[in-house]
């Protein structure tokens, strides 16, 4: 049953060390505020799940909070590499991470199986690619009706699912629109959930057929305006492509990454302070 709470309490109560956590968002509605709060609270030994890990997963990995990564595409879209992810995989810094590598299709099906209460997903895929050679979870199953051999992957059932959305009402019903990605499936597949939102209103006013997460299927709902930045929330703000490009330089070297994380994330109390810290740093640069 949904409970409106502060983000710091939700993260404290719902994410535990050693958990499997999916902070999802397909470029849109990435739960940055929630992820940074989990880093601030030093949640560790996490197995992170995400179809398209980007900056927040680079940060978890670079801080050494990550044990494993379930993913399909780990890069900075249109810019290049995730340097902290690469450093962990190529050099084991700050520690090695276990990869459970997938494709988008198989992760989408695995989440949908989790949301459907099924033990595994079946789809036509992994035909002639090498992923099954390096990932023993990718198996094959024969159709009992046609004999076709199809791909089978275990259902994804995260301990915690974390997403951002545009709107909630006071009962904790959630509405999202635009690129809805895998958000609904993550919430339904997870044992515990945190949803951060741009606004909390009296009446949801969802159009028919809208993507709604009903209050009884949601855990904590936290008001975090701008909480998906530097990704975007359609109808509220655009993707900050400039920050994605800037991240390339921030994360390239271990020292600059750690100094940046200490100053802006670990030394701030919440997302609003984090954004203020970045703004004051930008002013320093402009003055210099």
């Amino acid at each position: 049953m949904a409970e409106i709470s502060s983000l710091s309490e939700a993260v404290r109560d719902l994410i535990r060390d050693g958990d499997t956590v999916a902070f999802e968002g397909f470029t849109h509605l990435i739960p940055s505020a929630a992820a940074l709060e989990a880093m601030r609270q030093g949640k560790r030994d996490l197995t992170l799940i995400r179809m398209t890990p980007d900056i927040i997963y680079d940060q978890f990995i670079g801080l050494g909070l990550t044990r494993g990564l379930v993913f399909a595409w780990g890069g900075n879209p249109g810019v290049g590499s995730l340097h902290r992810l690469r450093d962990a995989v190529e050099n084991g810094w700050p520690k090695p991470i276990e990869l459970d590598e997938r494709s988008h299709s198989d992760m989408a099906n695995a989440y949908a199986a989790g949301a459907s209460g099924l033990p595994f997903a079946v789809f036509r895929g992994h035909l002639g690619d090498d992923l099954p050679k390096v990932n023993s979870r990718l198996k094959r199953v024969t159709c009992p009706f046609t004999g076709e051999v199809l791909a089978a992957v275990p259902a994804t059932r995260p301990d915690v699912g974390v997403v951002h959305a545009q709107r909630a009402d006071k009962r904790g019903n959630v509405l999202l629109w635009g690129i809805i990605g895998i958000q609904k499936e993550v919430v339904l597949a997870s044992k515990r959930t945190i949803v951060t939102v741009e606004e909390i209103v009296d009446e949801l006013q969802a159009p028919p057929n809208a993507c709604v997460l009903p209050h009884f299927a949601v855990g904590a709902v936290c008001l975090e305006p701008h909480g998906a930045w530097p990704s975007y929330a359609q109808g509220f703000y655009k993707r900050d492509n400039g920050f994605y490009k800037a991240w390339d330089d921030i994360a390239r070297e271990r020292e600059t990454f750690l100094a940046w994380m200490k100053r802006h994330v670990l030394a701030t109390k919440n997302f609003a302070e984090y954004e203020a810290s970045l703004k004051s740093a930008a002013k320093e640069v402009a003055r210099a």
Binding site: T52, F123, R124, I179
Partner: protein, 266 residues
């Protein structure tokens, strides 16, 4: 020889755009394929249907999206569907004519690597990974691939097969149960390669103006065969060049143009 009046990237993008038509339903990869697909839409194929795996169907971006899920796509799309719907109904369901992919590396049978260089467990270079490519490559009716030629991109053997092309050649692709006819065109900065009808080995079928065959061979990691019916790629027209340049200029002004150093690093 006089300067051609266009860059290698420009003729590659233009040659790729020409492969798409008004009635094509195209599943678009990010980066160079997206630039080419939108050039087609903004020039000779205004009705082409562009689908991005983020769930946007019939997107009509005015500027080049930096990612496959920018608001530029969702706000201009006819409709937006969820990711499971995109992959299950639209891709696996068989509605895609052309899957248009980029690649870090490709081999002589058009298999693609975007996963690792070196050993998977201890890679020399970790690349971003598969994304949607493995199932795009085995579900769409045909596949176009777009990448720049070079010895480190056109490999005789890949360290990792991320997406199936024609496997080990001949009818190997069908033995895997893959749908569609697989990669039918590889569009590069030097020319266009297509699989031989029987062996499925890529051979040079179109060479860009001003490029020598030896230059193409030197940029290929296997002994590249030249098709008997090889033609010269028609010169970019003024219209193609101006539409492409205006699109790029709008994109750079909007902050979604690709940074120069990334371009150099690839």
């Amino acid at each position: 020889m006089p300067e051609p009046g266009y860059s290698a990237d420009e003729i590659m993008t233009i040659a790729a755009a020409r492969q798409l038509h008004n009635d094509t339903v195209c599943f678009v990869g990010i980066g160079m394929p997206s630039a080419a697909a939108n050039l087609a839409r903004l020039s000779h194929a205004p009705q082409v249907t562009l689908i991005y795996e983020s769930g946007t169907i019939e997107a009509k971006p005015d500027v080049l999206p930096l990612s496959i899920a920018d608001s530029e796509l969702s706000e201009t799309a006819m409709t937006v569907v969820s990711i499971p719907e995109m992959f299950r109904y639209w891709l696996q369901g068989g509605w895609i004519d052309v899957g248009f992919l980029g690649a870090a590396q490709i081999d002589r049978f058009a298999n693609i690597n975007t996963t690792v260089i070196g050993d998977y467990g201890k890679p020399k270079t970790r690349l971003p990974g598969a994304g949607g490519a493995p199932e795009i490559a085995t579900s769409a009716k045909e596949i176009f691939v777009m990448l720049r030629m070079g010895q480190r991109a056109f490999m005789s053997k890949l360290d990792f097969v991320t997406s199936l092309g024609h496997g080990s050649g001949g009818n190997n692709r069908a033995e895997y149960g893959a749908q569609g006819r697989g990669p039918s065109r590889v569009i590069t900065d030097l020319g266009i390669l297509e699989p031989h009808p029987e062996t499925r080995e890529l051979e040079l079928t179109s060479i860009h103006p001003g490029i020598a065959v030896d230059q193409v061979k030197a940029a290929c990691g296997w002994p590249l065969k030249i098709a008997a019916r090889m033609v010269e790629t028609p010169l970019p027209t003024n219209l193609e060049l101006s539409v492409l340049r205006e699109f790029k200029a709008r994109s750079e002004a909007a902050g979604t143009g690709r940074p120069q150093k990334v371009r150099a690093a690839q």
